[in-house]
């Protein structure tokens, strides 16, 4: 994959430039613990500010080619979205608890709202991300989003998961192709079958863990937990690599170099650290995960990043993202 042979630094040779993450456990610990204390003291109201502080820390410490990212969201926008999201969640669970046919309405509404939710969530996150004084944005509309987030998912369900890797590929491609940096659109050549190999390999890992736990009942819970985490780490790392390698912004191609075992080690050791420290190690766990992930992601910069034009960006509300979080959706890369 390394095309930059030494001495071949012609102007048109793309240079691999990884993201740089300079966050530090102690520094983030201070921010985190102040966030927790103020959130608890204000009965959760401060959590909107806490989210902004955390994101500004992580974005600010993420650099590409010497320039850092910025998180621009306003805490008040997040707080408003959060309040509506909590009310919606309460209403949702209250109505679905009722023993009448009314209980069927919220899940159907939720399914219909899901494409909108994903779009608004991505739009909020991207328009509030700035790099080199140019903002990102998201141009996805309801129709295509409905197709990939509802229809494809239903198809995956009806085929008992056989089409799930294809559905996930469609979703990722939809996200990348509707992301813009200033006026420039991202493009994706992600092939339809790209996720099948990682999916089958992860299934294999899990089956091995299952067989092991059947043979040695004494280690069954451990084998299943480790196997599950390893399978998850493999799938998330390899699909992220696939998505990035197939993505392009202008003449610049993205790169993903996550490896399964180191990534799994980060996830597993983080879980142990957090559990043993009763949560105190959470800041270090987040920093470690971000450091591994970000430093194995990058861009083949062809020339420089000076030529992107800024676009007028409409500010979007935080409701979509907050609803997504309240309903525990995992949106985005």
């Amino acid at each position: 994959m390394d095309e930059s042979a030494p001495g071949a630094l012609a102007p048109s040779t793309p240079q691999y430039t990884p993201l740089e993450f300079t966050g530090d456990g102690w520094a983030y610990f201070r921010i985190w613990v102040v966030n927790v204390a103020l959130s608890v003291l204000t009965l959760g109201i401060y959590s909107a500010w806490a989210k902004v502080r955390m994101n500004r820390y992580f974005y600010g410490h993420t650099q590409l080619a010497g320039a850092s990212f910025e998180y621009l969201a306003e805490p008040m926008a997040i707080l408003k979205g959060r309040i509506v999201a909590v009310l919606a969640l309460i209403l949702y669970s209250a109505v679905t608890q009722s023993p009448t046919l009314w209980a069927l309405i919220p899940p159907v509404l939720f399914m219909l709202a899901l494409p909108w939710l994903v779009n608004r969530s991505l739009a909020f996150r991207l328009t509030n991300t700035r790099y080199r004084n140019v903002r990102f944005s998201f141009t996805g509309t309801y129709g295509p989003s409905f197709k990939v987030h509802v229809l494809w998912l239903l198809a995956a369900g009806l085929t008992l998961g056989a089409l799930l890797p294809l559905a996930l590929q469609r979703q990722q491609r939809f996200v990348v192709e509707h992301t813009r940096y200033g006026l420039s659109e991202f493009s994706s050549e992600l092939a339809g079958g790209a996720f099948y190999a990682p999916a089958l390999q992860s299934l294999g890992i899990f089956l091995v863990a299952g067989a092991l736990s059947a043979l040695l009942p004494a280690v069954a819970p451990l084998a299943l937990a480790l196997g599950g985490l390893l399978a998850y780490a493999h799938f998330s790392a390899q699909t992220l690599n696939c998505v990035l390698r197939a993505s392009q912004l202008g003449v610049h191609r993205f790169e993903g170099r996550l490896e399964t075992l180191p990534w799994a080690w980060v996830l597993i050791s983080n879980a142990v650290l957090v559990a043993l420290s009763l949560g105190l190690a959470i800041p270090w766990a987040r920093i470690r995960a971000a450091r591994y992930k970000l430093s194995h992601v990058g861009l083949w910069i062809d020339g420089d990043l000076e030529e992107f034009l800024a676009a007028e960006v409409a500010q979007s509300s935080a409701l979509g993202e907050e609803l997504g979080e309240a309903f525990d959706l995992d949106i985005g890369l």
């Binding site: 102040v34 608890v40 003291l41 410490h61 949560g279 030529e307």
Partner: protein, 346 residues
């Protein structure tokens, strides 16, 4: 003139940037390129300063929308000293203040401790009281059905033996609150469950054939008193509610972290609640036995018979729903002493 602050100056229309050096002259900020050529200038008061938490990068936004990004936050702040708005946000200062951080750590720990130790159990007890008996008994049926499909088989006890056990429970019943309707369910626990008895949320007590065969009547009655106390105090309902309460508290403090990170500490804490309930049920069983004129020592003897290996010190665990038998025996002896002392004083 003060030393210049180095950074990148970004234009309004796109990602184009130039390396620039920022200087202050009076109330004007001035950006120059390498050759000293002026690139931009603006009054200090019209420029907006913003800092990234944790000191990653600092930015100055010019009135026309150009932006200056630098790593030299301290030098930039020194340059803008005294100008309103040209300083770190109060949150940044709070986060970098050692005393404030320590206070936040201690305050959070204290609040969490209070929440885990008092608020969650108290709220769970409150809610458990409000659960109607019919709902709790419905839970009993559902739980028992689950066990019957899994580890429990129909009892092979003779009707006479069942009568005998019913008769042991009967004198204990008047002591429990009216909403608890204790009843017995006989089951064969096989190898997995062994000699055991346990209380369901609505007060029903499951007794295995093996425990009926193992324990003499007095000790069996003591065990029934223990399980009855679980039911009377709605311990298993409260355990379920406490688990939910802890999960909410935990996810609230940590933000969402994925199931694996979240569930382990919650489970450990829940188990510590469960062990507290065992001590509580032991102590109440002693009172119940004394109240009907039986020897409370029988419970200690039953414990010894049920787990002979557990009476050896050192076997314990944070991973257990029950405290080590040694500790239970000590607590039991203390409870017996206490009840006897009370009796004696009347």
């Amino acid at each position: 003139m003060k030393a210049a602050v180095q950074g990148q100056l970004y234009g309004v229309s796109g990602s184009r940037s130039v390396r620039a050096w920022l200087d202050r002259e009076g109330d004007t900020l001035r950006w120059c390129d390498e050759a000293g050529q002026v690139l931009a200038a603006a009054p200090l008061g019209a420029c907006e300063f913003s800092d990234a938490p944790g000191g990653a990068a600092a930015f100055v936004t010019l009135p026309d929308g150009q932006r200056f990004e630098t790593r030299e936050e301290a030098a930039l702040l020194a340059m803008g000293a005294g100008v309103v708005g040209f300083r770190r946000s109060w949150l940044s200062r709070l986060e970098s203040h050692g005393g404030a951080v320590l206070l936040a750590v201690l305050g959070t720990a204290l609040l969490l401790y209070a929440g885990v130790r008092f608020a969650v159990p108290a709220m769970a007890a409150e809610v458990a009281e409000a659960v109607p008996p019919s709902v709790a008994q419905g839970m009993d049926r559902a739980v028992l059905r689950g066990f019957d499909e899994g580890v429990l088989a129909p009892s092979r006890l003779a009707p006479a033996d069942r009568k005998r056990v019913e008769a042991l429970l009967a004198p204990l019943i008047p002591g429990v609150p009216s909403h608890v309707r204790p009843s017995l369910a006989f089951r064969d626990g096989g190898e997995v469950v062994g000699a055991n008895a346990f209380a369901l949320p609505g007060g029903q007590i499951v007794v295995t054939d093996a425990i009926v065969a193992l324990l003499p009547d007095a000790e069996l009655q003591a065990v029934l008193a223990h399980e009855l106390s679980h039911g009377a105090a709605r311990h298993s309902l409260r355990r379920g509610l406490q688990f939910s309460g802890l999960a909410v508290l935990w996810s609230w403090v940590t933000g969402d972290l994925g199931a694996l990170l979240t569930i382990l500490p919650v489970t450990l804490l829940e188990l510590s609640y469960a062990r507290d309930f065992e001590f509580e049920a032991d102590a109440q069983a002693v009172e119940r036995l004394v109240a009907i004129g039986r020897d409370p020592e029988a419970l200690a003897q039953a414990l010894g018979r049920l787990s002979p290996e557990g009476t050896v010190a050192g076997s314990s665990g944070y991973l257990s729903t029950h405290p080590p038998t040694v500790e239970r025996l000590e607590a039991l002896a203390a409870a017996v002493e206490r009840v006897r002392a009370q009796k004696g004083s009347f």
